[in-house]
Symmetry: C2
């Protein structure tokens, strides 16, 4: 592949992923003016990783950041899968759509880079390596935090109970870090306490 | 500082920087539906770095990514400084506002992390290290690319000539990589050629 062709493919990929800025998530941003998009969500998660990876010598932070930056790119084709809509979703069909999306979008890059990003995305999806577990935990912690700041956000909209929050967010966040989960659980506890008092 | 207090400060910082999602830049996103915000811009730049840092063994990519993820956070207080408004801006006053913003926002974090991010932001601003030069070059390349895709974008709005594009984008992008500038210049050339043909 000539140098020009490499550049053309890299630029083609970078233009294509601009579309992630138009994929809307269920959560709103903190000031509640609008729903969050998946590109700015990915940035926010990368900041979570920078902040919470301190004193985690067991983690390759560069790998975590790369994973978080690319983890939602498949949503350009497959859309965002809401946490609380799991009951109504065909998981196998979604996984298939996401795999096809990863192939289409990452393969816009020159072959070596495409291989690297496909492998990294697969590692995130599988959630088995320490880096993938950490990344997946943060991907639950960030919307949890947004919900506690926006009158329950998607919990209120979907009638999600405190117990269901523990069930749906706990395992992934504990997989990232036990102490992070203790802190996150305290945020959830405080939120539901406030709601009782207010309501 | 107790562990709880560390977590509270980290969360306080992560909530504060959510505001970067509401700082609007001059450029529009590729589909032209709206202006780009600085959070999603930072994500896009980090993706540019992942793609173009290949074969750059001289660069610490982790440092580049951290820089790009935090480089615009000062805009929460100081606003976005447009490339083409430079003539009307008081540079010293802006630098002062940005320094104050960095102090206020990064100091929300526990002291050690605050020190690290302030140092990294300063290194980016100074633009002297290889990582800072690379990051600053990408921060010019991304809006250049958006402009070539959106009928000239901020160039058209501000009556910027082809020659002025070379002057305002060239030095930073060449500082990142000579070959990247050759490719970027070809994109600019092709855009202005199309514009002449279209009329």
């Amino acid at each position: 592949m000539t140098a020009d062709r490499v550049f053309d493919r890299q630029i083609g990929f970078l233009i294509e992923i601009d579309a992630l800025k138009s994929v809307l998530r269920q959560s709103t941003i903190v000031n509640r003016s609008r729903r969050e998009n998946s590109a700015e969500h990915s940035w926010h998660l990368a900041m979570f990783a920078m902040v919470f990876a301190e004193d985690r010598g067991d983690l390759d932070l560069l790998k975590v950041l790369k994973m978080l930056l690319i983890h939602d790119i498949v949503e350009i084709d497959a859309g965002d899968a809401p946490i609380h809509g799991a009951g109504t979703m065909d998981k196998a069909s979604l996984a298939q759509q996401e795999q096809a999306a990863a192939e289409r979008i990452f393969r816009l890059l020159p072959p070596k880079q495409a291989d690297e990003l496909l492998k990294l995305w697969r590692e995130f999806e599988d959630g088995l390596s320490p880096e993938a577990r950490f990344a997946k935990g943060l991907d639950r912690l960030q919307p949890l935090l947004l919900n506690t700041l926006t009158e329950g956000g998607t919990w209120t909209e979907n009638g999600v109970t405190e117990e269901q929050v523990y069930e749906r967010y706990g395992p992934a966040i504990r997989g990232a870090s036990e102490s992070l989960w203790l802190d996150a659980r305290a945020l959830v506890r405080a939120y539901f306490d406030r709601r009782k008092t207010d309501g």
